[in-house]
């Protein structure tokens, strides 16, 4: 009861002050909303990625293909089908009857036997000023009619060159890329996500080269012969600022 009375008294005093102020406040005044007659503009930034395969033939075609025609970029056939097998740039030609993937391809510790293709991911450009980005994960999507079991017999490594030595960003079965969450990208085990600076419209857009190495498990049985699949790889990114 005592509290109640006190609250009522304070409210009464405040009301009196407000009424008194309103009654006595009178001054010359003026106002302008905008001196130059323009509304100030606040624009949210953009995040716009693009990518192109880059094996010394920077074009927007697929990284992996069996024949030059499958690697066509819309006008020119791909230069490095599977018979170009090493990771030198350009790949060293390995003469062989045009063949497809054989169990054991790309395995082992000898980089000369790896099958590696490069994807250059750019941030901004082409009219887009972009915010710095961190690459979070890679997903894959199978085309209709693909032989899905084949994905379980292929391994994918993703490296980032340009750090003196190639840094491993991810390693997983290709089938793991086909899940909704895909495979996360980290600069080494437990490391941060790789990032790309933002683009302010000056010079070339910043980019990160990503090497995709693929191998075909040596223990793959006969029933996988002639299995075929077509995969779209998607690199996902988030804004880097304000993103712990």
């Amino acid at each position: 009861m005592k509290h109640h009375a006190l609250l009522l008294s304070v409210a009464a005093v405040l009301s009196s002050i407000a009424v008194g102020t309103a009654a006595t406040f009178a001054l010359f005044r003026d106002s302008k909303e905008n001196l130059v007659g323009l509304e100030p503009t606040i624009t949210a930034t953009k995040l716009c990625l693009s990518s192109a395969r880059d094996a010394n033939d920077n074009v927007p075609g697929p990284m992996f293909y069996m024949t030059g025609a499958q690697g066509n970029n819309g006008s020119v056939d791909g230069r490095y089908p599977l018979s170009e097998r090493s990771n030198t740039s350009p790949p060293t030609f390995v003469p062989e009857t045009p063949g497809n993937w054989a169990p054991g391809d790309g395995e082992g510790n000898d980089p000369a036997k790896w099958i590696v293709r490069t994807l250059t991911v750019s941030n901004g450009g082409f009219g887009c000023d972009s915010v710095a980005a961190k690459l979070t994960h890679v997903t894959g999507a199978l085309h209709a009619g693909s032989y899905e079991p084949l994905a379980h017999k292929m391994q994918v490594w993703i490296y980032a060159p340009g750090f003196g030595t190639d840094v491993l960003l991810a390693h997983a079965s290709l089938s793991d890329f086909l899940t909704p969450t895909g495979v996360e990208l980290h600069l080494g085990p437990g490391g941060p996500n790789p990032d790309i600076p933002g683009y302010s419209g000056i010079g070339l857009p910043p980019n990160l080269q990503m090497k995709f190495r693929v191998s075909f498990d040596r223990d793959t049985p006969n029933e996988y012969q002639n299995g075929n699949m077509v995969v779209d790889f998607t690199v996902h990114a988030e804004q880097l600022p304000n993103n712990p």
Partner: protein
Amino acid sequence: MFAKRMALSLLAVGVTSLIVTAATFALFTAQTTNQNNTFTAGTVTLGSPTPFTCMVNAGGNTNNLAPGDSGACTVSVTYTGSLDAWLGVDVASSGDLFTLDANHAMITAVKSGATTLTPDMTGRYVLGQYSNGQTASAEIDYSFPLAAGNNYQGKSGQISLSFHAVQSRNNTTGSGPTSW
């Protein structure tokens, strides 16, 4: 009582704020796709062998062998796989003509063209490395010893061949496959 109500009210506001925060938290995202990456597993396949034909060096036919005869049987097979492959052949003989006693008929050589082959560690004869469309031939030489006795009259035997192919890429050591 008042303090308790106040605490409950604050708690409710806090929970509501958390829910609103979770629902509205978002980051700008983007993605880029590299399309149409094609992966095709190769094939290792053999066509059907040609008929297995045998001859007797001295003439006649192999249904009327006499002690002292010798001859050869030939067969070929076309490799039709997309991957290069090692081809090999297993050779076996059976029947009384090849087993009856110490004077039985025998296989004297297995050849690929003019080359006499020796079996590898698994007992298989390596015919060589082949690409799609190439044909491998095997020749099996035999002899029927002159010492064969009358107990061989009317006896017969069989020579059986079994062709095998295995990818050569990632599977080569020296002049043959690492494993069949």
